[in-house]
């Protein structure tokens, strides 16, 4: 009876699809461009950054099955490091992104060494604890660098045509970054490495019996996921030109978890759909409804009890049912009867 894990139905593991990835990337780009017809462009820029963050979380939670309550730490670390690089080194956007990436990778490589030794509940909590430490550092521990509650403003110099003050340029840059991250994660999760990571979610002991060093895989996945979160953070710092301790606040992790759940964990499309849906809801509702946190909590409860598969999981189930019905009809035409295998 102990620890019976009822996982949501994951999507089938497919062999590396070299060209299907590009089809999906085209669809994502087209969807974002279509959204730009009736949503302000600066919203979509934020959505793209959020999508990268949620995609990185999906690798950790959806694919490896490790729920973390501390993902904002890496987002915030990337954002702060990028701003500091802009302020103290040079106002070059690529240098800032590089600084954010290096900071996220170094931090998660060290923290991951501790964190990955735990799993399940302890994993979520230890991450939360580290996030709290980071929040404290941003708020008061490293006040000389982060300026505490006042936040850290920074400005980016226009580089050739890359001027982040122009909304279309910023949006285009974020979209390209999002597509790159999507391509990277799609390739990674379809590779043999990705299959090992998914197997760790299903049953880690069996993966160990097969001779894999699961610690190494888990650590690597944690570092990749956190570095991508730091990437999202540095992009965020470039667009906003301002970082505050609220960007490291552990309470903000709810946004990420909610986005993954609403879209459907364990497939990258779910993360994309979920984060756009969540950002739409929060942008439209949070300004008009005062009791936003309560609604968020109630919606989270509803998701956990009745809508676990999320939007994409639900759509996939509908598709499976449809194709099954078609198969049954076809078989009946051939004079056969099919029984569903449970």
């Amino acid at each position: 009876m102990h620890n019976i894990a009822v996982h949501q139905q994951s999507f089938p593991v497919q062999p590396a699809q070299r060209f299907l990835v590009f089809r999906d990337m085209a669809i994502i780009a087209a969807a974002f461009l279509a959204l730009s017809l009736f949503t302000p462009l600066y919203w979509l820029t934020d959505f793209a950054v959020m999508c990268i963050l949620v995609l990185s979380f999906d690798l950790l939670y959806g694919y490896m099955g490790h729920l973390s309550f501390g993902h904002m730490l890496y987002f915030g670390a990337g954002a702060y490091m990028a701003s500091l690089a802009l302020l103290h080194l040079a106002p070059n956007p690529f240098l800032a992104i590089l600084a954010g990436l290096v900071c996220g990778a170094a931090l998660s490589a060290v923290v991951g060494f501790v964190v990955v030794r735990t799993s399940g509940a302890a994993f979520a909590l230890v991450n939360l604890a580290f996030n709290q430490i980071g929040y404290w550092l941003a708020l008061s521990g490293l006040q000389d660098y982060t300026h505490g509650e006042d936040g850290l403003p920074s400005s980016v110099e226009a580089l050739w045509f890359l001027d982040f003050r122009q909304a279309p340029v910023a949006f285009g840059f974020m979209l390209v970054c999002l597509l790159l991250v999507f391509w990277l994660l799609k390739t990674l999760t379809a590779s043999p490495y990705g299959i090992v990571v998914r197997s760790i979610k299903e049953n880690e002991d069996r993966v160990k019996f097969l001779g894999y060093n699961t610690f190494r895989y888990k650590w690597l996945t944690f570092v990749i996921s956190s570095t991508l979160a730091a990437f999202a953070g540095s992009l965020y710092a470039l667009v906003k030109g301002f970082v505050a301790p609220s960007d490291v606040n552990p309470l903000e992790n709810t946004r990420i978890i909610f986005s993954v759940l609403i879209g459907g964990a364990g497939n990258l499309y779910g993360a994309l759909v979920g984060s756009v849906a969540f950002e739409m809801i929060s942008n439209l509702l949070a300004t008009t409804i005062a009791r936003w946190e309560m609604i968020l909590g109630l919606m989270l409860l509803a998701l956990v009890f009745w809508f676990r598969r999320g939007i994409t999981g639900y759509a996939y189930q509908l598709y499976l049912d449809r194709s099954y019905e078609r198969l049954v009809k076809f078989a009946q035409g051939m004079g056969l009867s099919l029984r569903r295998q449970k």
Binding site: L67, A121, W136, L300
Partner: protein, 289 residues
């Protein structure tokens, strides 16, 4: 020096009283119960509201607040935690976290975001070795010690306590004896929640209450439970006081780093096996496991 030690003992006492419920749900159901923080903070706010009605009689308002929160705790156990028991841990964490969010927002809606101070109910200063200390803190510490022994008696002598301890060890074995484990878990959960409110009310005069206080003490209590061993009630007692002393001593040296030090200790505890095996390897002995 004496006031630092006393402060550590007081914080340790509060952490212990709060962590018992968490440790029990952790040990029996393997569920991380964020809703514990909601029960705690809602209980304290109810206590603050009850205080004027009960002519400022501290124990009476405390008893009323605990009595008011017991049904709420039962509802959380019955309709959220038990429904998720045996399923993926992640959903239990997310659902109880949602309860915590709803609770924090409810408090903001009813009482507002302003911090709520509570005055010291005893207010008698003692002078020990030339240092002024508050009698109230001594009382808090002593009540935690009394509670520890009372719980020991409950868990070793009373039949409900014995069943809960047995279920902590082997849930299926207890079920095989024909006992309705869920019923006893419910009782243990409600007792734990009542103790959370007790801890919160005892802590209220020392600190100020704000809507997110449940979240902050939860983080510390999770550290206590992890350091003490999940479901290990004696370990929880010891680790609560150790971490309380860590908070007090760090707070004396560098006040804003006090809570952070707790997580450093927790990380060291989680890392103890790799550190030991590393030391063994340095000494030239073969590492085990």
């Amino acid at each position: 020096m004496i006031d630092t030690i006393l402060y550590g003992l007081t914080i340790g006492a509060i952490l212990y009283i709060f962590s018992i419920g968490l440790s029990i749900t952790f040990g029996t159901m393997q569920i991380v119960n964020f809703a514990h923080g909601m029960v705690y903070s809602l209980g304290v706010y109810l206590f603050i509201s009850f205080l004027p009605w009960t002519l400022r009689i501290f124990p009476l308002a405390m008893a009323l607040a605990i009595a008011a929160m017991l049904p709420v705790a039962y509802l959380i156990e019955r309709f959220i935690i038990r429904r998720l028991y045996g399923e993926s841990l992640d959903y239990a964490i997310i659902a109880t976290y949602a309860v915590l969010l709803i609770g924090a927002d409810l408090i903001k809606y009813i009482w507002g975001t302003a911090p709520q101070p509570v005055s010291d109910p005893i207010g008698v200063p003692l002078v020990v070795l030339g240092v002024v200390i508050q009698l109230y803190r001594v009382v808090v510490f002593l009540s935690a010690v009394v509670l520890f022994f009372a719980l020991r008696i409950f868990f070793t002598r009373h039949v409900i306590g014995k069943i809960v301890v047995a279920a902590l060890e082997d849930r299926d074995g207890v079920r095989a004896l024909g006992l309705d484990v869920n019923k006893y878990f419910s009782i243990a959960f409600v007792i734990g929640s009542g103790l959370a409110v007790l801890g919160g009310v005892l802590y209220a005069p020392i600190t100020t209450s704000e809507p997110y206080m449940g979240f902050h003490i939860l983080l510390l209590a999770f550290a206590v439970v992890i350091v003490g061993g999940m479901g290990n009630l004696t370990g929880t007692f010891i680790s609560a006081f150790v971490l309380g002393m860590v908070i007090a001593i760090t707070g004396r040296v560098y006040s804003s780093a006090a809570d952070t030090m707790v997580f450093v200790v927790m990380a060291l505890v989680l890392l103890k096996n790799p550190i030991f095996s590393f030391v063994r390897r340095l000494r030239g002995r073969p590492a085990h496991g």
